[in-house]
Subunit: 213 residues, 2 copies
DNA sequence: CCTACCGATCGGTAGG
DNA sequence: CCTACCGATCGGTAGG
């Protein structure tokens, strides 16, 4: 358990591969390019990951493992409906804004390998989605959440909006710059509006019967 | 002006290139693959488009030209605020659902060439975005639209949600399937919820002072 | 972790 | 619109 250089090198390779796959795409990134970024030769990289596809799988596995730990933590931390909303949406936003390349990687993978991502979502995320949807249905029965919300679809739309906005927010911000406003970008304003849209399409407006913990 | 085979062949190439670039990505599609789909040899394709990048530009130009004609038409057709919402969101949804590969192509291009897409949005779409944002501000002053809406950001969020949902809807629908519901996909339910979210985050709930034309 | 090397495929050109 | 061909780069292996 001393200097585990083997594992360290694997992590270094994964970090550079994540970044390059996110920015240039899997097909736009050569094994050679990843090796150069790490500072080793191509055959050395292929010792740690026996093929380019194994490297892709390693990158995705790393992200999957993050959420396998994170989701139960987030759901356990929040008690009331409003808390669950803020904590859940906050966890997604902070994870992907901490490194927008994570969002770009997810979007690229959905486009490049839709079937395998479908399977991954079905296996690892659908149980959680069902649980959150049930929370929403409970809130609908209690009157705190709008009756016309389609729980599963609402979740998918909000996650799509989050990941999409973070993945291509630098591009779409070209539409937001006001006249005479200089070159200042408005990423946080985008996220604020996103949260507002998500919240107001979910909760009932009447502020009575608030279920505080 | 009789049998213009030259232009016809260009269009055939563009159609197959659009589909292949959307599904496999630009870097994942060889000129050879496009030529095979069309039914000609690679050097013949390169007679019509002098390089692979010229082919990419041709594909994007075609889509840009669609919206150059469509946006003014849509804005002219709608008069009241609710009409503008329905017509505008409807135009985007119907264009991209007619061929989801269009949405995939847009997303891929934003990821692969963020700077050039930024420039394109700034030049060709920002004027329209500003105009629509002004409509929203007028609605805010009249009281029909929520005061807490950030007009430009709202537009970007809704367009992101539309294109994102259509581009990867087949994948994210893996999260929506209810237990014991069979394999039936729910694309239209996704779009219905999207429209609901967009509408309810935009308009004020009080149904008085409706501005009919 | 390296040097040396492999067959396959890439975008593109020559020339007709 | 074709056949024939180019140098460059691809993912991956041999062997140490």
């Amino acid at each position: 358990m001393v200097g585990n250089t083997q594992t360290e090198m694997r992590q270094r390779i994964l970090d550079h591969a994540t970044r390059l796959f996110a920015v240039r795409g899997f097909n736009g990134t050569s094994v050679q390019a990843v090796a150069e970024a790490v500072g080793i030769r191509k055959p050395s990289l292929l010792y740690h990951f026996k093929s380019k596809d194994a490297l892709r799988a390693g990158v995705l596995d790393q992200m999957l493992n993050h959420w396998k730990d994170e989701i139960p933590k987030v759901l356990a931390a929040a008690s009331t409906g409003k808390d669950r909303f803020a904590t859940g949406v906050g966890a997604i936003i902070s994870f992907f804004t901490a490194d927008p390349n994570r969002a770009r990687l997810v979007v690229r993978e959905m486009l490049d390998s839709p079937e395998s991502v479908r399977e991954m979502l079905d296996t690892h995320f659908r149980p959680w989605t069902s649980m959150i949807a049930d929370y929403i249905r409970t809130g609908q029965e209690a009157g705190s959440i709008r009756e016309d919300v389609d729980p599963e679809s609402w979740i998918v739309q909000v996650v799509t909006m989050c990941i999409g906005t973070i993945a291509v927010g630098d591009v779409t911000s070209a539409l937001v710059r006001r006249r005479g406003d200089g070159d200042r970008p408005h990423p946080s304003e985008q996220m604020k509006e996103l949260v507002r849209i998500a919240r107001q399409s979910l909760f009932n407006t009447r502020p009575k019967e608030s279920q505080d913990g």
